[in-house]
């Protein structure tokens, strides 16, 4: 009896710091730790995007290969490498602003900074990732969060948009307590209600960091899904400024 009590006390003492670490965590501090985990100065990745117009039909799939560069939290560059139809299509996001370069015409166009147009998927690509999803920005700056549920292994947080013209009326994110990685995001809109789910299916170490290497975006409204597979990722590497210059990124 004394041994059991002693063992119990020892476990409590050893686990107490861990208990304390999660106790009293408010939504904002959780989000900040999530962003801190994701925050990098620069990133470079190559990924495949598999678009299933019918989530239940695995045979009907369109595949896209994308090269992606990131700088800070606001700037991201994407270049479509395949299919050949859209090879050379380039997309630059800087905060709320986005530019698209169409290699066929040689023209670069600025996309109107409106939430409604950003809700659309990239023209010529389709899929369930919209311009808004592909753009940058910190969660803390876009949404106000509160904890919906404090589970054993994860927190469930609800985020309400801070801006009136936000694409989504609400998001719900599931954060893994052990590593502060988002395992799922639910997107809600005023029109569609529960619109999309983004799930992290696999996490690996790439470039020295835990990286979500397999993600699925399931669109409840259209019944479609898009899978993103990260093939390679590097972080905090030198990147040319040209990729984040609106007048130069397409050259």
């Amino acid at each position: 009896m004394i041994r059991k009590t002693g063992f119990f006390l020892l476990c409590t003492i050893l686990l107490f710091p861990a208990f304390l670490a999660h106790c009293g965590e408010d939504a904002l501090s959780i989000i900040r730790k999530v962003e801190e985990k994701q925050s990098v100065d620069t990133s470079k990745s190559q990924l495949s995007m598999l678009v299933f117009p019918d989530a239940g039909d695995e045979k009907n799939v369109r595949a896209f290969t994308v090269l992606s560069y990131g700088q800070g939290d606001e700037d991201s560059y994407m270049e479509f490498l395949s299919p050949r139809t859209i090879k050379g299509l380039k997309l630059l996001s800087k905060g709320d602003d986005q530019w698209v370069y169409f290699s066929s015409t040689g023209r670069c166009r600025k996309i109107a900074s409106s939430s409604k147009s950003k809700k659309q998927s990239v023209k010529g690509v389709g899929g369930d990732f919209s311009y808004e999803d592909l753009g940058g920005g910190k969660l803390e700056e876009k949404y106000s969060f509160e904890i919906l549920r404090d589970g054993k292994t994860e927190w469930v947080l609800e985020g309400m948009p801070k801006k009136e013209d936000s694409v989504y009326s609400k998001i719900v994110i599931y954060v893994n307590k052990s590593n502060y990685i988002i395992s799922k995001i639910e997107y809600y809109t005023e029109d569609e209600g529960h619109y999309k789910d983004l799930s992290t299916d696999e996490v690996k170490i790439m470039g020295g960091r835990e990286t979500a290497t397999h993600m699925t975006m399931l669109n409840h409204d259209k019944g479609s899904k898009t899978i993103v597979v990260i093939h390679s990722a590097e972080y905090d590497i030198p990147l040319s400024d040209k990729y984040f210059n609106p007048a130069r990124f397409y050259k």
Binding site: K44, Q46, V51, P53, R62, A63, F64, T65, L67, E79, L81, S82, P83, R84, T85, K87, K94, D97, S104, T105, G106, R107, R109, K110, I111, A112, S113, S114, S115, K116, S117, K119, Q120, S121, V125, G126, G127, D165, D191, S240, D241, K242, F244, N245, P246, A247, R248, K251
Partner: protein, 421 residues
């Protein structure tokens, strides 16, 4: 010609059998597309069928990218055209009576097949500046249909076959001040007609086109302003013109907005002379907006175009100025309306219409497009022309020494099939 065809065919075979490895900044990549465009045109006169014509364009376009180093890149595009029937420009001009010399007087020329190296340029990243040189697609302007500041190449106006901007021989330096300000320009070595014969006057410094502009990235709009010198060889003489260019591209709330203008500058003997200057007559401007109805997956686009050099009365139309590219259209004011609805990510229906606001004539072109596979696209569409006698989109036009010519049909149907590789 035969040798070049063999080379292109060999390149395609190599493309098929070399394993496809696509990496970032890959050292070399060869790709392109094969497109077939078939058009049947019908002419009705007073509701009675008059005649029909048919034609086909086959376009094979090969593109190559090469990056020997991080700061160097090279790009080339070659195109093979085979144009038959109503798609052949030589047959078109023969039909109008505008060809002074018959084709059979040139037995060694091929008026059906054409191979051209359309783009071939190199780009060096020199830190705060770029230097691009070669045969470059210089695509200035935010306009969607009309581009008043695009003064370097023949206009590919609503071209149903190719959307690539033709390359122009020249150099394009650009200087970047942070991410906000860019100073860019070009010096071209050929006039806008891209004529295929050489004249000694081509080397006259007065006949070298150039353009220079400053671009500023602001929150709502990207703004640019500059000076353009246009040189065009038409009707056996070089025509030179200077323009002040201004361009805005951006949006407000849900509405995308853009405007592009070229204001003709009255330069006489290297000096500006505003005597008798009329701004409206010397203004070329396009202003447009676009809006997305997300719930309907539909994009709407409106574009207004004013061409000061045009004519407000159809009795004064000069079709020869349009055929020689001295001006883009016949009249002064036009309105372009376009909408495109996506039924799935890969099936789209669209309809566009171009109105001549001066004579009331217009053309409507509906189209259905289907991305059957990722690299295989099929389109089906038509053109419908409406207007009164002598109007731009309907009826005959008078050409001196030739007489009355009719360059429009009542309606046409087309199919377009494209495989990308």
């Amino acid at each position: 010609m035969r040798t070049l065809l063999i080379i292109m065919a060999t390149a395609i075979v190599i493309l098929i059998f070399i394993p496809e490895v696509i990496y970032a900044n890959e050292a070399f990549c060869l790709y392109g597309y094969l497109l077939n465009y078939f058009q049947s045109s019908f002419i009705y006169n007073n509701a009675r069928f008059k005649e029909s014509t048919y034609g086909d364009t086959l376009l094979l376009r090969l593109k190559g990218d090469w990056s020997p180093e991080d700061k160097l890149s090279f790009h080339a595009e070659a195109a093979y055209y085979c144009r038959l029937g109503n798609q052949n420009p030589y047959a078109f001009y023969d039909n109008l009576g505008l060809s002074h010399l018959p084709q059979d007087q040139f037995p060694y020329n091929d008026f059906v097949n054409e191979i051209v190296i359309d783009h071939a340029w190199g780009l060096a990243n020199l830190g705060p500046m770029d230097l691009q040189f070669g045969k470059i697609p210089i695509a200035w302007g935010s306009g969607y249909v009309f581009n008043p500041t695009a003064k370097t190449a023949p206009v590919q106006f609503l071209d149903p076959v190719s959307e690539e901007t033709p390359g122009t021989f020249g150099i394009v330096p650009s200087f970047y001040i942070g991410d906000v300000v860019t100073l860019t320009g070009y010096l071209a070595f050929q006039d806008r007609s891209h004529k295929t014969y050489a004249l000694k006057e081509d080397g006259d410094i007065r006949n070298l086109p150039f353009g220079i502009k400053v671009q500023v990235i602001t929150g709502l709009f990207d703004i640019s302003a500059g000076i353009i010198k246009e040189v065009l060889y038409a009707q056996e003489s070089f025509q030179r013109a200077y323009y002040l260019s201004v361009d805005l591209d951006g949006g407000i709330q849900n509405l995308g907005l853009y405007t592009e203008t070229g204001i003709y500058l009255p330069v006489e003997q290297s000096r500006l002379s505003f005597k008798g200057y009329n701004l409206e007559e010397n203004l070329e401007i396009t202003t447009g907006c676009y809006y997305t109805l997300v719930a309907l997956d539909t994009e709407l686009r409106l574009e207004y175009y004013h061409q000061g050099q045009g004519e407000s009365k159809k009795s004064k139309y000069d079709i020869l100025r349009v055929l020689t590219q001295e001006q883009l259209m016949l009249a002064e004011d036009y309105l372009f309306i376009f909408f495109e609805r996506s039924f799935t990510d890969y099936i789209r229906a669209s309809a566009g219409s171009l109105f001549n606001l001066n004579d009331g004539s217009f053309v409507v072109y509906p189209e259905f497009s289907w991305d059957v596979y990722s690299n295989f696209q099929f389109s089906l569409g038509s053109f419908f022309f409406f207007g009164g006698k002598g109007s731009e989109f309907k009826g005959e036009h008078y050409i001196e020494d030739v007489g009355n010519v009719d360059i429009t049909e009542t309606f046409s149907l087309y199919t377009r099939v494209k495989i990308s590789f």
